[in-house]
């Protein structure tokens, strides 16, 4: 083995020009795949943070059974009562890794500035508990100012915040009052004064002229109810949400509470769609890299074999078996893959540092404002692609090496 490694290394060095091309092909492939992989990871975590923390969806959502199916027509018929809420808080909150259990009530209706009205959708939430969820966010989002002006507070349940577009449509300034109108749970029309304190950027531009944020108390007053339509659960880690969901569902079932429990991923189809799209792009890119790399390796090893045919004959005459010839070239190719990945890692480091240094911003699809563009340093991706590309490089050499190994010794020796 040691002898074959020596032979491989020296031949790579001897043909360093040719080797360099292959190594660079692998290196650029490695760097490209990992840059995109790091970007993908950034997108993933950004969207995830946006859903779980910024939008305060938490990890799990508990609804009355039927809320997400029949309840879409008549949401107010699938509400969780105050008594059920109390029970659920006690049951779920008993778990050590649960950090927040908070009720919410989504409302919709008309909002008016006194002169004209427009439709709105609002989540009524407990401001301090939403803050607790938002506070736990990681990454660049943590540094972002969410509200322009003031936010909501537990002490002032009449405060409301509007999405930037809605504030614009209504033409209101901080301190102005707005009037929200909606049918109550019982069916009467109800109106409530809100105190406009600040605006926020909605991440989805289609909703930018419709969103409102209110306190839970405000939404319950408007709907004239003490029920809620969802309970958000936040854990202190993202690990195995499926199992956590099942655990919560079991607790609720055992207590005779007829609820449905969803993970945030299930309630965020946009996230899954983005993931799928990225995976397709990633796969496509990976295939291109793969093809270029395999072609490059096959070409290099093929040339090596052609030049060293008599050497192959000699080694065979000295007693090396066919298998040994394949090993000889497979090792050489593996080393090329390893060197390529190593150079690729350096290239990645350079590109990664450049992106970090320039701190670029971009506007992702459906977003209304630029956000920082990052490439994450994903250690496991970086390590696994070294292994993968080296092994792939080895495998790519097997076909040409096998052809060389199957040559008759006499023919190989006679080769000039």
């Amino acid at each position: 083995m040691r002898a074959w490694i020596v032979i491989a290394l020296r031949n790579i060095w001897k043909n360093r020009r040719r080797s360099a091309y292959t190594i660079l092909a692998i290196a650029f492939g490695y760097a490209g795949v990992n840059m995109f992989g790091g970007f993908k990871d950034y997108l993933y975590s950004t969207i995830k943070n946006a859903f779980i923390h910024v939008n305060a969806m938490g990890h799990l959502n508990i609804h009355k059974r039927g809320f997400t199916s029949e309840g879409r027509r008549e949401p107010t018929e699938f509400l969780i009562s105050a008594e059920e809420l109390r029970q659920i808080k006690a049951l779920v909150g008993a778990r050590d890794d649960v950090v927040v259990v908070t009720p919410q009530l989504q409302i919709q209706g008309l909002v008016s500035n006194g002169q004209f009205s427009t439709v709105f959708v609002a989540l009524g939430r407990v401001p301090s508990e939403v803050e607790e969820i938002q506070r736990r966010v990681g990454g660049w989002i943590a540094k972002r100012q969410y509200y322009t002006g003031e936010g909501l507070s537990d002490d002032h349940p009449e405060n409301v915040a509007l999405s930037a577009g809605l504030a614009d449509v209504l033409g209101v300034k901080a301190g102005d009052d707005v009037i929200a109108t909606a049918p109550t749970v019982a069916g009467q029309i109800n109106a409530l004064d809100g105190h406009y304190v600040g605006y926020f950027d909605s991440t989805l531009d289609v909703l930018d002229d419709k969103l409102m944020e209110v306190s839970l108390q405000f939404s319950q007053l408007l709907y004239d109810t003490d029920s809620v339509d969802r309970i958000v659960v936040l854990f202190n880690d993202d690990g195995d949400l499926e199992a956590k969901r099942d655990w919560v569902q079991q607790q609720l079932d055992a207590a005779g509470l007829d609820m449905e429990v969803w993970t945030w991923v299930e309630r965020a189809p946009f996230f899954a769609a983005t993931e799928r799209m990225n995976n397709v792009i990633f796969l496509f890119m990976f295939l291109v890299v793969l093809v270029i790399m395999v072609m490059s390796v096959v070409n290099t090893i093929g040339m090596s074999i052609l030049e060293r045919t008599r050497e192959i004959g000699t080694m065979r005459a000295l007693g090396l078996k066919r298998r040994g010839i394949i090993e000889l070239f497979a090792i050489e190719s593996f080393i090329l893959g390893l060197l390529g990945s190593a150079v690729g890692f350096l290239l990645f480091l350079v590109a990664w540092s450049v992106v970090k240094g320039f701190d670029p911003h971009w506007i992702p699809p459906t977003y209304s404002k630029p956000i920082p563009l990052e490439v994450h340093f994903v250690t496991s991706n970086l390590l696994w692609s070294i292994v993968f590309l080296s092994v792939l490089s080895l495998v790519a050499a097997i076909a040409p090496a096998r052809k060389a190994a199957n040559l008759e010794v006499v023919d190989a020796l006679g080769h000039i």
Partner: protein, 227 residues
């Protein structure tokens, strides 16, 4: 039993458009410890015969046994093992591995056999010393003269203590003086260690120091003389 036995051996190459009958009706033996020259004009089949005896190729007709084994009964891997353990080769173009130093080239047969590195190196160095290259261990082939390269090749052929060494035109790429030196070296090794040597040549001048000469003409034995 003889080290090498051929009975009505023939070899026909089928690689080209029409079959080429390179050898036919070869019947001969080589006993342990002999020093044999196979000579004849170009195209008479010397290399073909050498390759058959060395288990590099298999006969198309007849029976051939080498180091006690019937060639026809051996798999490719078994022939490789036998070559590695019992047979040494010296080639016309030296066939040293260009990226390996002299001592590393000589180590190869032992490394293929799986002998530990330190032991390989020690034995290889000893054999290089024996062929007069004790001070050139770490030279690469391109830093050696033709004669020196062929000495390295002889050391490589002998390092595994083979019973039989086959040399196909070992002197064809060397000047006369060096050619004699190489033949003398092989002769000396043959007498010291009783290793059997079979070498092919078309150079009649080299036959003087050889005790047995087999002349090939048109793919068959024309004359087999001793003394």
């Amino acid at each position: 039993m003889n080290l090498v036995e051929l009975r009505s051996v023939g070899k026909t190459y089928n690689s080209r458009m029409e079959p080429v009958r390179a050898l036919h009706d070869i019947t001969m033996d080589v006993a342990d410890g002999e020093f044999v020259a196979i000579w004849g004009p170009s195209g008479s089949g010397k290399s073909t015969l050498c390759n058959l005896i060395g288990l590099l190729d298999v006969p198309s007709d007849g029976r051939l046994s080498c180091v006690g084994r019937m060639a026809a009964e051996l798999s490719d891997d078994q022939r490789s093992e036998l070559r590695n353990e019992r047979i040494g080769f010296v080639f016309q173009q030296f066939n040293l591995i260009p990226v390996l130093s002299a001592v590393e080239n000589v180590m190869l047969p032992l490394q293929i056999r799986g002998v530990p590195y330190a032991q390989c190196r020690e034995r290889a160095a000893a054999h290089l010393d024996r062929v007069g290259l004790g001070s050139h261990l770490d030279r690469r082939p391109d830093q050696l003269s033709g004669g020196q390269k062929q000495r390295v090749a002889v050391a490589r052929a002998l390092v595994g203590d083979p019973q039989l060494v086959l040399a196909d035109e070992p002197t064809a790429n060397l000047d006369t003086h060096t050619a004699y030196a190489i033949i003398d070296l092989m002769r000396a090794l043959n007498q010291e260690q009783q290793t059997t040597f079979v070498f092919c040549t078309h150079d009649q001048r080299l036959l003087d120091s050889v005790e047995r000469r087999i002349q090939l003409v048109d793919g068959t034995i024309a004359e087999d003389t001793r003394g």
